[in-house]
Amino acid sequence: MRYLKLRYEDRDRLFEALRKYGEIYGPVKISKKTYDFRKVSRFDDMDLNYVRTISPPKKFVYPPHEVMFEIDREKGKVSIPEEDMGPIVLFGLHHCDIEGLKRLDSVFMGYPADFYYSRRRKHLFIVGYDCKPDEFCACNVTHTSFSTDGFDIFLHPLPDGWLVRVLSERGQALADEIGMEDASTDDFKAFERYQEERRQGFKWDMDAYVLRGVLEMHRHSDVWEELSEECLACGNCNTTCPTCRCYEVRDIPSIDGVHAIQERVWDSCQFEHHALVAGGHNFRPTVADRMKNRYNCKISPAYGTNLSYCVGCGRCTAFCPAGINFWENLQKLSEVSKHAK
């Protein structure tokens, strides 16, 4: 990887050069306390000091709603809708969101690769951006606090610009085009200071790998009843999670009786129907069962890897209408097991 430097005054040149990699989306303040990835036309449109966006970047590659097939019963034809997305630059993704996309890749691009996800994914150019944690962040717990792959270039704030880690071939070409200089020893020192401040900022002292054992010990415990008492089963924690990916399939006929579509829409494991089968049997009938399943699923290893699905972004806690704190609950579970006889 090359470590280069982008001067503050050169930021617009970077932005302009990025245009050829697609439409640029970056973090924008959309209300007093909320940020989201939106289309931007200038570097300064972005609020790069954001902590987290309300919706994770998964929507770009895995939209909340996607028509998979259009069926013509008379002609006996099943066709796939044309591609509706062009190249996109995602500017300003934090480590957690880059790691989140990697988790989704492991599922959707693992054999057999998902057709729709794959065709969107190849359009992404990813610009990472470093961050300082708030009280809901816990990427230290999930081992996702520093991405070393999964992006094209990654920007780390310096007093007078950015240290840029240039990873992909496209990133190299981009760096050459702008003519970025090598980072100096002082730049590295400033980078190290920033990392030190980041490390100091983490509030939660746990380890996701150890939590696997903790959750295992609570497989049959009553504590889930207590933890889920206030849960509304609204599914917000799934919608805002960068690695939640369950979908429901809908077959919808058109009024003419000839055409039909099959589409998929984001689903939530917190909804009652998620594990319901014919005959009325529900494998996870209670809110407590479903909360337990979500915690286990998030801390469990992503498909074919040893990496936890949870990337520590804190969204499920920050945006829970019932104020349920994922980390606090995991800590409670650890305490209970410490004192268990």
Binding site: M68, F69, I71, R73, G76, V78, S79, I80, V107, F108, G110, P112, A113, D114, F115, L211, R212, G213, L215, E216, R219, R245, C246, Y247, E248, V249, D251, I252, P253, S254, H259, A260, I261, Q262, R264, D267, C269, H274, A275, L276, V277, A278, G279, F283, N293, Y295, N296, C297, I299, S300, P301, Y303
Partner: protein, 287 residues
């Protein structure tokens, strides 16, 4: 249109419909395009995999293959009418079209069983996937030792493939194949009375060199595990199939997930067939 979309359903035609019980029908189906049929046959090598059956604009359901991989040119599904989609399927006739994708799931590791005796234990609709394994074993009779199949249901009318199994038992009499059919809710002529595990002692298999293959409601599994292990059957050769809600069949949609923080799996992709050893590792399968 050829593409690399694993979710693409293929057009298939219903060749024949048999009424198997008052609530179950068997559909014999083949793909309209011979290339699709060939591809299906290339991928269907282990019995009891499943397919997704799609009715455009209505819905899609997972259904086990009840025909063995040794039967070519068609495949068969036995479908119970329980809800929205299965009711519409029940109204279809010969010549009607359905859309199929698959086969999915792992199926039974039947090649690992060569030289062993086979004991099949089925309850209710469980006989549908087991039929494909049983017929496969008969088609490769020389690969396996003695075979006993115990088919159970509530009443005689509910016994899947009653006549077919009786006919097989007559054909293979004296060739080490035994069929026991039993019902739990009535006493009638021609069938035994009681649950399937009551008849394990009558099986013509040698516990130490057997494979136990079961399919039925999961609540019957624990008592059968306990019973066969107590009778000296090899715990490394016990298999059961499991069911969950399924939407994609290929490990993407998340509905069939089972497990805990250090062992999450997808029943559609990692199963639906699991060994007793896997059930020990993933106890959530039994919950």
């Amino acid at each position: 249109m050829p593409n690399n979309n694993p979710l693409q359903p293929k057009k298939a035609v219903i060749k024949k419909v048999f009424k198997v019980t008052p609530t179950e029908k068997m559909f014999v189906i083949s793909f309209v395009d011979p290339k699709d049929q060939e591809e299906f046959e290339r991928n269907y090598t282990r019995p009891a995999r499943f397919v997704q059956v799609n009715l455009p604009g209505i819905g899609e359901v997972p259904i086990s293959l009840c025909s063995p991989p040794t039967q070519k040119g068609f495949f068969a599904l036995t479908i119970r009418r329980v809800g929205r989609v299965t009711t519409v399927i029940h109204n279809l006739n010969e010549g009607d079209y359905v859309w199929i994708r698959g086969p999915y799931g792992n199926g039974f590791p039947i090649d690992e069983w060569k030289g062993r005796d086979l004991l099949f234990l089925s309850a209710g609709l469980g006989m549908a996937p087991l039929r494909s394994v049983f017929l496969y074993a008969l088609d490769n009779r020389w690969d396996y030792g003695n075979i006993t199949l115990i088919n159970s249901a509530r009443t005689k009318r509910d016994l899947l493939y009653y006549e077919e199994l009786e006919a097989i038992a007559r054909t293979y009499k004296g060739d080490g194949v035994k069929v026991i059919q039993t019902v739990t809710r009535e006493e009638v002529e021609g069938v035994c009375k009681g649950r399937c595990h009551l008849y394990i002692p009558q099986a013509n298999v040698d516990p130490k060199n057997s494979v136990v293959i079961m399919c039925g409601p999961p609540r019957m599994y624990q008592s059968i595990f306990d019973e066969v292990i107590a009778r000296g059957f090899d715990p490394d050769y016990i298999y059961a199939t499991f069911e969950r809600r399924m939407r994609c069949g290929i490990g993407k949609c998340g509905h069939c997930n089972v497990g805990s923080s250090d062992s999450m799996l997808y029943v559609c992709k990692d199963g639906p067939v699991f060994s007793y050893r896997q059930v020990q590792r993933y106890p959530e399968l039994m919950e």
